[in-house]
């Protein structure tokens, strides 16, 4: 199922294994975590990594390993949901812009220009501050900040596809506009959209962790990587509090990026140089 150049690259296979391991950790967290993620043990607060608590404990005596494992249950679905929603809206708007053209296209493109003039985190910060902190609102914020770049990408694909012979052929035999779009254009542009979206899941996980670090994610008791790192800010000596959730983000996002890159290289050798 996987392309051969991908399977032959040890780096790509390792990265895929890391992603798989995180997916398993997320799914099996209740079974493999040594402690409940919310259980406090004040007597052992701020304990360094050791035999009882492999990755140490936080200021409330909660087990960091367990919280890191549970954190995957939030970050992975959130990253995927935010990208999926942004891709969905971007594809819809981009298809309208590229398909209808004219002044509709012009207006849509100027709006995306404007949205893209705002740095993502600032835009997402304004939106999620206004909607209130929380996982759902953070996802909405990332989606609002990201759809314009997908819309531009999809518009470009639609414009390119419109000029192809198979589309002209479909028109010539009398297919309706909707049929041409759904059966001929959309099916041909869907795979680059999916690849781009997959490449962005890691980035979305990072952005969500940033919002959460700023206090715009879930409430602090919820085991989430960004807010766990934030809780270690005042404990520089107890380095393990913020180090391990950060290592979790780094390994997962790095692995996702390597998988995405290798997949793209394997599927489209022309892009290898990037």
């Amino acid at each position: 199922m996987l392309p051969r150049p991908f399977v032959r690259s040890p780096l790509a296979v390792t990265a895929l294994a890391v992603v798989a391991a995180w997916l398993v950790a997320a799914a099996a967290a209740p079974l493999i975590a040594p402690f409940p993620p919310l259980a406090q043990d004040i007597a052992r607060r701020l304990a360094p990594p050791g035999p009882a608590h492999w990755l140490g404990t936080d200021p409330l005596g909660r087990d960091i390993l367990s919280r890191v494992l549970y954190g995957a249950r939030i970050s992975i679905p959130v990253g995927m949901a935010a990208v999926a929603l942004a891709v969905l809206i971007g594809t819809l708007v981009g298809s309208i812009a590229g398909g209808v053209g004219g002044s509709v296209d012009e207006v849509i493109m100027r709006v995306t220009d404007l949205m893209l003039a705002f740095p993502t985190v600032i835009l997402a910060m304004i939106i999620s501050a206004a909607l209130g902190a929380g996982i759902r609102n953070a996802v909405i914020a990332i989606m609002v900040a990201w759809w314009p770049s997908y819309a531009r990408f999809v518009r470009g694909l639609v414009l390119a596809a419109r000029g192809r012979e198979y589309v002209e052929a479909a028109r010539a035999v009398g297919a309706s506009t909707f049929r041409v779009f759904g059966r001929h254009i959309l099916v041909n542009i869907v795979s680059p959209i999916v690849i781009l979206g997959t490449l962005d899941v890691g980035h979305a996980i990072l952005t969500f962790a940033s919002l959460s670090f700023l206090g715009l994610g879930p409430p602090p008791q919820i085991p989430e990587w960004g807010s766990m790192i934030a809780s270690g800010r005042d404990y520089l000596v107890q380095w393990w509090i913020s180090t391990f959730p950060g290592v979790a983000i780094l390994t997962l996002v790095l692995a996702l990026n390597v998988v995405g890159d290798s997949l793209r290289d394997a599927l489209d050798p022309r892009l290898r140089r990037l």
């Binding site: 910060m125 670090f213 700023l214 520089l236 180090t243 959730p245």
Partner: protein, 339 residues
């Protein structure tokens, strides 16, 4: 199209873009369910209808939205961004104090990224598929995969708490006072005042956050420069230069790298926006008194005039940076102007 016409057209488009930015910021910050009254007065005062009505009237929140927008634009044109609900200062005053600190940080980070990313990208492109290339590829992948706030905390733990090489967070050591404000850039103001110690102290505080902030853009610039070098190294004119018997280093630098720099200019412009995003987060970690900290405070207290001020300034900086990049590109590559 000649260069002057190209630049002229781009500049003429600016005002429309700026109006669009104000409109979008306004819609985003007002078309939300959150209530600025509760955020700024507290739940208790928000329960008192008289207090709420007075608050709404004072900040113009009792007028229809289109009217609020027009009033805002009218004042903006006259250089008035309103008064921050939480600091009770003019937003322009707040921004004038905080923007230079952010620009200082972003500029230092950009310098570091260029100084590291471009040579590394050239080297990786020339020595393709060697250890150097693998290391630079791995390094830039790690750079773009790392949470900047985490890197900042780890840097503070290692270089401040453990090794004691870096000063603590903040823009100046607590024992020093800020030099008299002229430009609001601490390093420049200190030099203007002839305070060498303060300037040195400010620079030493700048190093760690700037390094942390540059991690992402070093990754982006290295990869872009490498890809661009690989493109250019395959060109006929590079082969011709080699065939003429020019030395390898001369061909690499004079013929290949100069041309490979072109696409990288665009990325530099685009990653400036990313730097501003990163600065917001880096500032909160390093207690850096810049726009990011201000944006965060105003966003969480639903301080609309301040949020709009930040949004407009940041987006305008980004739009201007892109304009400069496009113009630089057009000057460097005449083919762009023909398009």
């Amino acid at each position: 199209m000649n260069l002057a016409v190209y630049i002229g057209r781009r500049v003429l488009f600016l005002p429309a873009m700026l109006v669009g930015i104000t409109l979008l910021t306004f819609v985003l910050s007002h078309a939300v369910p959150a209530d600025p009254v509760a955020a700024n007065l507290g739940e208790q005062a928000a329960a008192n209808p008289e207090v709420v009505a007075a608050f709404r009237h004072q900040w113009g929140l009792d007028r229809p939205l289109p009217q609020q927008y027009l009033i805002y634009i009218w004042r903006l044109v006259h250089g008035d961004m309103g008064t921050s609900i939480s600091t009770h200062q003019a937003v322009t005053t707040d921004l004038g104090q905080d923007l230079p600190a952010t620009v200082e940080l972003a500029f230092a980070a950009m310098l570091i990224s260029l100084a590291v990313g471009i040579p590394l990208g050239i080297l990786a492109g020339v020595r393709r598929d060697t250890v150097v290339d693998q290391i630079s590829r791995g390094g830039s992948l790690i750079g773009v995969s790392m949470p900047v706030f985490w890197l900042g905390l780890v840097a503070l733990v290692v270089f401040y708490a453990w090794l004691g090489w870096a000063p603590s967070a903040g823009q100046l050591s607590p024992r020093l006072s800020r030099p008299p404000a002229v430009t609001n850039f601490v390093v420049i103001d200190a030099l203007l005042a002839g305070e060498g110690d303060i300037a040195r102290d400010a620079l030493s505080h700048l190093v760690l956050p700037a390094l942390v902030l540059s991690a992402y853009s070093i990754g982006v610039i290295t990869r872009m420069m490498r890809g661009s070098m690989l493109d250019v190294l395959g060109e006929d004119y590079v082969r011709t230069a080699r065939a003429k018997g020019l030395s390898g280093l001369r061909v690499t630098l004079r013929h290949a790298a100069r041309n490979a720099l072109l696409p990288v200019i665009t990325i530099v412009g685009l990653s400036f926006g990313g730097l501003l995003s990163g600065a917001v987060i880096t500032e909160t970690v390093f207690a850096w008194p810049g726009l990011g900290s201000y944006a965060f405070r105003s966003a969480t207290s639903l301080d609309f005039p301040a949020i709009m001020g930040v949004g407009i300034v940041v987006a305008s900086v980004y739009v201007f940076a892109n304009l400069l990049v496009d113009v630089a590109y057009a000057v460097a590559d005449p083919r762009i102007r023909m398009g």
